[in-house]
């Protein structure tokens, strides 16, 4: 059962990483326009250089 001492903090940490990633994505407006984002990768604009 000693393994729990490692496993529980690890699982909590991993859960926390997931939560932080979610909050970052939310703050970064990644859920505003899922359909548009999936279409935008098909556009050729700014393929040659980054958008200023």
């Amino acid at each position: 059962m000693v393994i729990l001492v490692y496993l529980i903090p690890i699982s909590l940490f991993l859960g926390g990483v997931g939560l932080v990633a979610f909050l970052w994505a939310l703050g970064n407006r990644q859920f505003e326009d899922p359909e548009g984002d999936s279409q935008r990768i098909l556009a050729d604009d700014w393929d040659d250089r980054p958008k200023p």
């Binding site: 529980i8 699982s11 859960g15 909050l23 939310l26 505003e32 548009g36 279409q39 556009a43």
Partner: protein
């Protein structure tokens, strides 16, 4: 319009003073700029086209398409108008309409939506972690291990509940202070009681802790709250929009001197001057000048009306061709425009009394849950004299009855149905609109701009000689009269090059005149051009020299899909009525074409509203479809209303659903989906009540464990959501 509290309406929002909301709206408008609806965009190329075109427009700072919502938000300098932008988009083949910025208040809605989503995410992650620990407890962890797991669960659950449950606590507190018992009071009580009991049990090393139940409860409720929030839109008052149409100032004529004065300073008997293109500031009688006036906003008449000395005009009508002098008969509060705004305000206030299915459910639900839980406590305490066990049972009852599935029942269905209708081209502005749409049994249509496109188009132009057409094109381009403009557009589509004319000038109220190769040519009213018979169809006459004048007829094309929609409605047993402000002939003709037997022409706005009130009195549930100022009162008075995106702002504000595309065909579909949605909502209520019927006796008997609570809660929430998805 719909500020009535619903299953999860936030009472704080309802109670918030209107002034605050207005200020918020103003702030939101300044930040977000212009939002245009683009019903036809669907791919990466469309996104590129729209964004490039808009960015290239002078004054536009940025443009971003949202394909999910089929919208583009534009940040632009104050001088850039939405109309100009949509014209540019229409030129490259993307029909665009401005949508009420209040309705779509992007920044404010985004902020609140993200806030809810964040709480939902936190609750979700906490729920997963606690569930992992709980599985170990359920599978038989004992003594120290179980206590440790309970402690860790508590450490995760308590901060999570404090953060994620805040919307419920805040609105429950507001409800209590307003001495009401909303849905959020039992929710908050269950959350608080569950955490308190579980914390106590953990201290005592008890067997059952409900942290997992409390957090998953919070998660499911937030999911319902988020869906509900997305289907709810800030309502704007159509009466306010109408008042905004009023011209604030007028040009007063006194002793030959023109002075610009506020409307409030005008008195009956004053003389007022109205320039071509201006809106009538007052009701009055024409004393000088001739012109034509466009009264389609007020009456729905397609044809501009001639106005000369003695003609009666109303505030809100547009002066088209010549300057007019009016003697004021009514100004300000007494003007017909103001009376109409009052009519709309009355209709709007009557409408807020609708109680949704969810409200009715919540009213029954909240007290019964409290009573049940209290009875459980009292019963067990009386039987066993064991306070700890009694409180435990009462808490279990609260947790198990807590309206997880009930909170999801309506929003999940509404979201699913709105999504489906949105793909068909209908934007649902109000959460309860679907329910009301499902109840409709009578459909009342307006004619101009609703069943027809509202723009007259010349017919049988090919029958005229090419040379005449060239003259007509040149004449038509010299005037801003709606018929001339329609003619010019049609002729340029036929690739007719305008002839070279001299001395082109407009004769206000009559037409346009010029000289072609030494011959006088005219385009305008029959009598003026020299035609001696008057016809009741919309027509203009072309006269070249002394040759017999030629008639160019116009027809207002029916909206695509209108006939199919009317047929489908009649086939499904709806009563279809046509109410138009237009004259008898065109209305009768359209009614015959579309097969509508019940029609009335020459209806004034108040008559339309009165007819709808009469129908409602007879027990009919009326769906009003209209677009004009003259329909606004009727739209607000009807049980549920739809307007096309091309409609006036006030009409769109008054209606619950906006038809985004030009096609009318999705209308019968919308009614079908609405009825389906109502059936799903009722099924969902039955499902969640069914779960309660099974689980509550178990809880009352004190046999419920955290495992049973978790199973009942998750299973019912998931079934309800899946049932809602069946709509797609």
């Amino acid at each position: 319009m719909m500020s009535a509290p619903s299953i999860s309406a936030c009472p704080a929002c309802v109670a918030a003073p209107a002034a605050e909301r207005l200020a918020e709206r103003a702030a939101a408008m300044r930040e977000e700029g212009i939002v245009l609806s683009l019903p036809t965009i669907h791919c990466a190329v469309c996104i590129g086209d729209v964004e490039r075109t808009l960015s290239a427009t002078p004054g536009v700072r940025s443009a971003r398409v949202n394909l999910t919502l089929k919208r583009v938000s534009v940040v632009a300098d104050p001088g850039v108008s939405a109309a100009a932008l949509s014209q540019r988009l229409e030129a490259i083949g993307y029909p665009a309409h401005e949508l009420d910025p209040g309705l779509l208040s992007v920044t404010e809605t985004d902020r609140r939506g993200r806030d809810l989503l964040m709480r939902l995410g936190v609750a979700g992650f906490a729920m997963m972690n606690i569930m992992l620990l709980s599985v170990a407890v359920w599978s038989g962890a004992e003594a120290a291990t179980r206590d440790l797991f309970h402690w860790i669960s508590a450490a995760i659950a308590l901060p999570t509940l404090a953060f994620a449950g805040k919307p419920f606590f805040a609105s429950a507190w507001a409800a209590l202070r307003a001495r009401r018992l909303g849905m959020d009071v039992p929710i908050s009580l269950a959350l608080v009681l569950a955490s308190a009991v579980s914390l106590f049990e953990t201290f005592e090393g008890g067997e059952h802790a409900y942290f997992d139940a409390a957090v998953s409860l919070c998660f499911f409720l937030l999911a319902g709250r988020y869906l509900d929030f997305r289907s709810r839109a800030a309502a704007r008052s159509a009466a306010e929009e109408l008042a905004a149409l009023e011209v604030p100032r007028a040009t007063r004529l006194a002793g030959g001197v023109e002075t610009v004065v506020p409307i409030a300073e005008l008195a009956v008997g004053d003389l007022v001057r109205v320039r071509p293109g201006g809106r009538m500031p007052v009701d009055g009688v024409v004393t000088g000048g001739t012109s034509e006036i466009d009264r389609s906003l007020l009456t729905g008449e397609t044809l501009p009306v001639w106005a000369g000395e003695g003609s009666v005009v109303s505030a809100g009508e547009v002066n088209l061709t010549g300057p007019l002098t009016l003697r004021v008969t009514a100004a300000g509060r007494d003007s017909s425009l103001h009376r109409m705004a009052d009519l709309v305000a009355v209709a709007e206030s009557a409408r807020t009394r609708y109680t949704s299915l969810a409200d009715r459910m919540a009213r029954l639900y909240a007290p019964s849950v409290h009573i049940l839980s209290l009875l459980a406590f009292a019963g067990w305490f009386w039987l066993t004299r064991d306070l700890r066990h009694s409180v435990n049972v009462a808490a279990t009852v609260l947790i198990i009855t807590c309206p997880c599935a009930l909170a999801l029942a309506v929003p999940a269905v509404v979201t699913s149905a709105s999504g489906r209708l949105f793909r068909k081209g209908l934007l649902i502005k109000d959460g309860t609109a679907l329910e009301r749409l499902a109840e409709a049994d009578t459909v009342v249509f307006d004619k101009t701009g609703t069943l027809t496109l509202g723009a007259p188009e010349p017919v049988a132009l090919e029958a005229l000689p090419r040379g005449d057409l060239a003259v007509a094109a040149a004449l038509a381009e010299g005037s801003s009269h709606p018929l001339s403009r329609a003619l010019a557009v049609a002729l340029s589509a036929l690739r007719v090059a305008p002839a070279a004319l001299d001395e082109l000038h407009e004769v206000p109220g009559y037409g346009i005149e010029g000289v072609f190769r030494g011959v006088r040519v005219r385009l305008g009213r029959g009598a003026w051009v020299g035609a001696n018979h008057a016809s009741d169809v919309t027509a203009t006459w072309l006269g070249i020299g002394d040759a017999a004048p030629r008639e160019i007829r116009f027809a207002d094309a029916p909206r695509p899909g209108a006939a199919a929609a009317v047929d489908a409605l009649k086939a499904r047993g709806f009563r279809v009525i046509l109410l138009s402000g237009d004259t008898e002939t065109p209305v009768a003709r359209l009614a015959a074409t579309l097969g509508i037997d019940d029609w009335q022409a020459g209806q004034r706005p108040e008559e339309k509203a009165a007819r709808i009130a009469a129908l409602t009195q007879e027990g009919a549930r009326v769906l009003m479809v209209g677009d004009g100022l003259n329909d606004t009162a009727a739209l607000a008075a009807a049980h549920v209303s739809i307007s096309p995106a091309s409609a006036l702002d006030a009409a769109r504000s008054a209606s619950d659903i906006v038809l985004l595309g030009q096609d009318m065909a999705p209308l019968p579909d919308a009614l079908r989906v609405a009825r389906l949605a109502r059936r799903r909502i009722k099924e969902n209520f039955a499902l969640s009540l069914g779960y309660n019927l099974v689980a509550v006796p178990v809880a009352l008997l004190g046999l419920a464990t955290p495992l049973i609570a978790a199973l009942a809660m998750s299973a019912s929430s998931i079934t309800v959501s899946l049932n809602a998805l069946r709509l797609r």
